[in-house]
Structures are given as structure tokens and as C-alpha cells.
Amino acid sequence: MAIGAFVALVGFSRSFEQEWMRLYSSAGTDIVVVEKTFLETSIDESLGTKLQALPIVSQATPMIFNMMDLTPEVNALSFGWKADSYDFEALTFLSGHKFQDGKAEVILGDVLAENLNKKVGDTLEIQGKAFTVTGVYHGGSALEAGAAILPIDQLQEISSLQGKVSGFHVRLQPAPKGQTQEQYVKRAEGIIEAALPGLRAAPASEWASKNQFVALAHAVAWGTSSIALIVGILGIANTMAMSVFERTREIGILRALGWKSWNIMLLIQVEAIVLGVVGGVVGLGVGYAGLKLLATLPQTASIVSADVSPAHLLQALGIAILAGIVAGAIPAWRGAHLSPVEALRHD
């Protein structure tokens, strides 16, 4: 179960991170400009003009990022974009078209539209205001596929955040010759942060993997998995301790027949590892099934996909082997140091 929890939870958080990566890479965002401390919708939208005026910036578009309860069962990411945002380039409209600024219109990701059972022309109530669905799109990432995108002014209105944005997505001018993209983005960060004091300019890839939501998801996943792992280790240790106790005479026989202490230790330790691996393989299956389930649930489909990397599975298996080694260590040591005579007398 510990390995299942690890695969499902850490897989969930990594999947979440990957979707953030896709979100930015599919739109071609180079830099994300946000608050220095925590992602919140408190940046003055007018700073966008200052940002756009920088020679190194090709396009700067404001955005709001939020999580909303659309129905009692379905909560979804909500993005506030301007109708002329370049972020639309990453979307493929399956039906309808994008919204217009200033109108109570919304476009839905295909996963969210299916979960809400909404199509173009339907009305969706958000925060007490009726929005007309003008389009259903397929996004470059699960975050978009499960999201609702509204005109930024509408999202500001229903959130009482007029004139405020969560940040800006920035596309840079092409990098000059002789400069790597990395060097160029680094230089751009400095220029933007100098022009907009108090804000942070982060490369999109870095922001995708290190933003507070992803960091929180990782921390929760690892924390919960660690607790499950400790419980799992204690379970294996208990099983092995019982096994050693029940097989005390058997150990005595082996010792009487010339088996060395380390032979006994190895025997018990290998059994513990096998137990860990078998449990781990079962856990991989359970965890993967759990992740698949999360990817289909309306409550979580918008932030997770069921992609599990082979590296993640190998890591889980490695942890299972390690759990077996740790859990078997004390029972193995005890078994190995039993006196042959005492062990043979054991009933």
C-alpha cells in the first residue's frame, strides 16, 4: 500500500508538474512575471504596458489564475485572458470560437465541458453570474483541457479584483546571434525585474516546476508517501520478526548444520526484500490504477493525467527494495545471532 500511495501521490504531483510544463511550452511563453512571494492576483494590470514597452519583449499578456467551484462536484482551474492573448495559439477549438473582452462569455476545455455536460450556446453560472459558452477547445495540457477561460475583465469583476492580475506571460524577441537562449532569458529576467521592481521574472520552465502549487503538491505527496512508507516498513519488519520467531528451530537446525550467521542474515534479508518487491509490484499496479482513477474523476481530471514515467516506477521499485532491506535488518540480525542450542530447544 505504501508503494501504491507513492506511485499515486508522487505520480499525481509529477503529473501536475508536467502539465504546468506543457501549459507554458505549448503557448511558447519564455518568461512568467509574477509576485516575488506567492502567486496571488495583486499585480497592477497597468504594469503590462511598461512590460510591453521593453525592447527585449515581443509580447506580454496579462493573466489571472484561479481555482473555482463550478458545481458542488466539479472544481476547475479558471484562467482570465485577454481576447487577443497569444495564449490562444496553444488551443484548438473543437466547436465555437473564443470569447470577446467585456462580455459574459466563457470557453471550456474539452474535459471540463464533458464533466459539466456543457456545449456551445449553453449557460454556465460562475460566482453567481451567467456566462455563455462560446467555445470548447482542446488544450496543450490537462490543466487547460480541464479549465474554464474567461475574459480577464470578467474574472476580475466576479472576483472583485478590478485592475489586478496574477501575472504576465511574456514572449521575448528572438535571441541575438552568439547568445544561447538560456543566456538570453537570464538577461531578460534582469531587464524585466529592473523595470518592474518588486516583481519576479522567472523562466517559464522554472516557474512550471517550482511554483507554489507544484511545490505544495510535491510536499504533500512525499509527506504522505513517507508516512505510508514508514507504516509499510513497520509492517514488513513485523512480518519478518514473526517469521524469525516461528522459524527459530529451523534457524537452529541450519546453524547446527554449519550455516554461518551471515548466511542466516542473508536468508532473512532476502526474504524481506522479496516481500518488499512483491508488495512493491502489487503497489505499482494499485498506484497506477489509483492515478488512472484520479485522471478520470471530475474533481481532479483538470490537474492530472495518468502518465507515469518508467523512472518513477523504477524509483518506486527501488524504494520497495530499500524498505525490504530496512525492515529486514533487525529481524535478520536477531535470527543470525540466535544460539544454535537455544534455537533447537525452541518449540
Binding site: 546453524r255 548444520l257 550455516w259 554461518k260 548466511n263 533447537l344
Partner: protein, 221 residues
């Protein structure tokens, strides 16, 4: 004159912080190729002496020497048990989850004998014990006499020079007892091994050329 294969000097063994003295200064010399029986009343210390001779336990004081090398210092107890002695117990002590042929191979794992050789040797030994038709039986599918014969085959697995038997006929009827003792004596003669049998049965005790009686932890004169 043959040299002693096992020699015991002022051997003492006590339990419970010295409150119980199982052996109280035993001196003994056993020649290579001897057949020796050790008898005595229950609690006299005969099994304790056998355990110390077999390196299953360590003495409180005194020395056990195997071919003039002191057990536990000059020769490790694990190595001694693996290479030089074979044990036969009253309760057989076969591993219940292993077949007869697998049980016989268990000591060979301690000396890292190759798999094919192990199986071949185990089969030869079981055939020698007249168990060629019982190779793949589990212990619970064997009679008491057959189990003890498997245990004898197992004791011979690593070509030991000393065979130690603790009440080997204690769980057997008279017919099987006689057969097992006949088998052990035959093995001792054929292989020139040293055979030490602990017994409380006078017939068996008196059947050996050398008979040692223990009383209250000491050898009777």
C-alpha cells in the same frame, strides 16, 4: 598409536549464572575412528557434553580440541560444524518444507558445493540409506525410521570425520532402533569415522568398544 580426534580438558558448563552446573570438569580423549557411547541419567550432562563436542555451544571454562586445535579460537565453530562434524538428533530436525533430497543438500549450501554435485551426492547418500524410492518425499510423508535415515544421510553430506548422535533411536520402535544403530556402526566402520552416540539405552551403550558414563556432570571412573 592413533592421535585423539577430540580432546576435552577440564570442561565446565553452567547455566543460570552458575546456579546450575551441567558439567563439572570433564576430561576426555577420543581417538580417531573410535565408536564411543555416552550414557547417564536424565540431566546428567551427557547431551551438554555432546553439544560442546559438536561446537553447538561454548563451555563456561575448559577446552575442546579437535585434532589439537581449540574450538572457538583456532577453529571457528561454524566452520567446524560445517566441515568436520555431522549431527543426528532424536527429533530428526528435518526441514518440513523441503523434500528428502533437498534436506540432505542443506549442509552442502554452507560449504558452497555446486548445485549439480549437491543433488548427485544427496541422491547417492539417500540410496546408501536405502531410500532411493523416497527421494522426493516430504518429511511428513516418511516414517520415523525413514526420517532418521534421511537425517543420517544429511549428517554425512559434507564428509565429516566425526558423527555425533544424540539419542538417535529415542523416537523409534525396537526394530527401527536396531536398524539405525546397525546402520550407524556400519557407516563408522566403512568410513573410518569417529562415532559418538549419546543414549540412555543400556544395550546401545554397551555395544560400543568405549562406553562413558556421566553422573552429575562428571565422568564416572
Amino acid at each position: 598409536m592413533t592421535s585423539p580426534v577430540l580432546e576435552v580438558r577440564n570442561l565446565r558448563k553452567s547455566y543460570d549464572d552458575g546456579r546450575i552446573e551441567a558439567l563439572r570438569g570433564v576430561d576426555l580423549s577420543i581417538e580417531a575412528g573410535d565408536f564411543v557411547t555416552i550414557s547417564g541419567a536424565s540431566g546428567s550432562g551427557k547431551s551438554t557434553l555432546l553439544q560442546l563436542l559438536g561446537g553447538l555451544d561454548t563451555a563456561t571454562s575448559g577446552q575442546v580440541l579437535f585434532q589439537n586445535a581449540q574450538l572457538g579460537t583456532a577453529i571457528g565453530l561454524d566452520d567446524y560444524r560445517a566441515h568436520h562434524v555431522g549431527f543426528i538428533f532424536q527429533a530428526f530436525y528435518l526441514l518440513p518444507t523441503l523434500r528428502a533430497i533437498e534436506n540432505v543438500q542443506v549442509p552442502m549450501l554452507a560449504v558452497k558445493q555446486e548445485g549439480q554435485n549437491r543433488a548427485q551426492r544427496a541422491e547417492e547418500l539417500l540410496c546408501e540409506m536405502g531410500l532411493e524410492h523416497r527421494l522426493n518425499q516430504y518429511p511428513n510423508e516418511l516414517s520415523a525410521g525413514e526420517r532418521q535415515r534421511v537425517a543420517i544421510a544429511r549428517a554425512l553430506a559434507n564428509h565429516p570425520s566425526v558423527l555425533l548422535a544424540d539419542e538417535p533411536t529415542g523416537n523409534l520402535d525396537s526394530v527401527n532402533s536396531a536398524r539405525i544403530m546397525e546402520m550407524l556402526i556400519g557407516i563408522q566402520k566403512k568410513r573410518g569415522m569417529t562415532l559418538i552416540v549419546v543414549t540412555h539405552e543400556n544395550d546401545i551403550a554397551n555395544s560400543a568398544p568405549h562406553h562413558i558414563r556421566i553422573r552429575d556432570g562428571k565422568i564416572e571412573a
